[in-house]
Symmetry: C2
Subunit: 302 residues, 2 copies
């Protein structure tokens, strides 16, 4: 199986040495490399009975690629460590590789350049994402300033709605797909950097929780507008179907890996960046100037 892996994973021109040696060699023409590692663990981040191997490949890639994009960088490569039970079918691994490759293909020039394999009781992935800033300054969590506009690119609450639908036995539809295969707007990351974004993060834990990281790092208060976040019809319909609150998904649902950023006042935002709030002196995150009274997302280590 290991011998076949390289054939399942297309190679990009920036890969100077690919899978099969002690290490890979990747071109980093900028003179800097952006690097992040994320787990994707069976039972915590996906279930094999509700996600296909291809879904898992998409999702594993998306988590790391979105982190790279959230720095304002263009993702360039993944390293994939896969631990799996002895009885995992080879076809499952082939489909996983197809999902990884397909998600990489959403970013021109990105590919899987290396990894490792081991045995474990469940399927466990640890994916490292690398990326190129192409001369840009990295966009940190710490640069938001009072007066900045808060804007989001990509959907909010879709993956959380999909998880609720799956739990209710509804296994098809766009929201369920958003849970199985989040589709982060990778190119919005470098775009935000070029627009002068002062801070950025990808929404993995939930909008309020991740804005909380920006507020804490930047020493500011972030006030989001409930009206700007009013859920669309599909989310409202899903909430009705399962007896949940759609706005709760929007504010606290994680795993969409959409990007949220702060921009200096007066920056003309392209349509994909939707203004949802403002930065003010203070600390914490509020909705319409009031604390949000429900749980604010998902804390991995709680």
């Amino acid at each position: 199986m290991i011998a076949e892996l390289p054939g399942w994973l297309p190679r990009s021109p920036r890969t100077l040495v690919g899978i099969g040696d002690d290490a890979a060699v990747l071109a980093t023409p900028d003179g800097r490399v952006v690097a992040t590692t994320d787990f994707l663990l069976e039972g915590q981040h996906f279930r094999r009975d509700t996600s296909s191997a291809r879904d898992v490949g998409h999702k594993a890639a998306a988590r790391s690629l979105a982190d790279v994009a959230a720095m304002g960088a263009v993702p360039s490569a993944l390293l994939v460590a896969l631990a799996a039970p002895a009885d995992l079918p080879v076809s499952w691994v082939r489909e996983l590789a197809a999902g990884l490759a397909a998600e990489c293909a959403r970013v021109p020039g990105a590919s899987v350049i290396g990894g490792d394999t081991a045995r474990a009781a469940g399927v466990m992935l640890a994916v490292t994402g690398l990326g190129d800033l192409a001369g840009r300054a990295p966009v940190l969590r710490s640069g938001a300033a009072p007066g900045d506009v808060v804007a989001v690119a990509g959907p909010l609450g879709h993956a959380a709605a999909g998880l609720a639908l799956l739990s209710a036995g509804i296994t098809e539809g766009p929201l369920v797909t958003a849970q199985r295969r989040p589709a982060p707007p990778y190119d919005a990351g470098p775009q935000a950097a070029d627009l002068g974004a002062t801070a950025m993060i990808d929404i993995s834990d939930g909008l309020l929780a991740d804005l909380g990281h920006i507020a804490d790092s930047s020493g500011v208060l972030i006030d989001v507008s409930g009206a700007a976040l009013s859920p669309g019809d599909p989310l409202i319909a899903a909430a009705r179907a399962v007896g949940s609150a759609a706005l709760e998904w929007v504010l606290t649902g994680g795993e969409d890996h959409s990007l949220v950023a702060t921009f200096p006042p007066g920056v003309p935002l392209p349509p994909r960046w939707k203004a949802i709030g403002t930065v003010r002196p203070g600390q914490g995150v509020v909705v319409d100037s009031r604390p949000w009274e429900h749980a604010s997302g998902w804390d991995h280590f709680a």
Copy 2:
């Protein structure tokens, strides 16, 4: 605990953005980055009852740093993904971080720049190593040519002997330490590249198994000399103590992460690089021109 992690891990000057943002940013002045990922899993690669958290940190770092060195590069950074049971003491993680940092300190300029945490039934690490070639061509597995000299830097069979001693209830001594904390000769990697090494690999699976990777990739036969590999007194004494064959440890013991390389004939080798064989036309690996008749190392996915 996550909030305290950065304080346990010293930061190097090449780390432009360190732990705590969506991703790290590392300087790669060469315009290329070497990258590798390796698992270190409880029960397979270490046991918490025979290795301390600090040992595990050393070993986890060593596996990835050695892979980087085996490309002829200087290791520059690690990303560490740690999954652990809920009841793992914080002190264990602090000691793990101390071991990671101490092993990084064996390479000037290397440090932990990022990672991830998650829950799991056992302790699982996935460590990504990054490195800088500083203008060198990467040394691959595929460049060995007939006439080349095979040479090794670092110990052979020590970690395997240490494992056998541990299994026999002997818990102290240099060989046991070599199992708990292999100390790869990282700087021998770039040195070999500068000397014109044609192929190189780190010995993680065993000398014969890893030379087999070079032989396969290069399309050559490698003939190692039994006399050049005769075990030292400590190994012979350990073999007597546990009823094993010391030469078997030397030829097939993995986990020392020593480096083995091939050099063009006539290259004057520094003393740390010990000539142990020659490259010839053909295929496979032989000892004194004959196939070795015991198991040839450790196959992770067998």
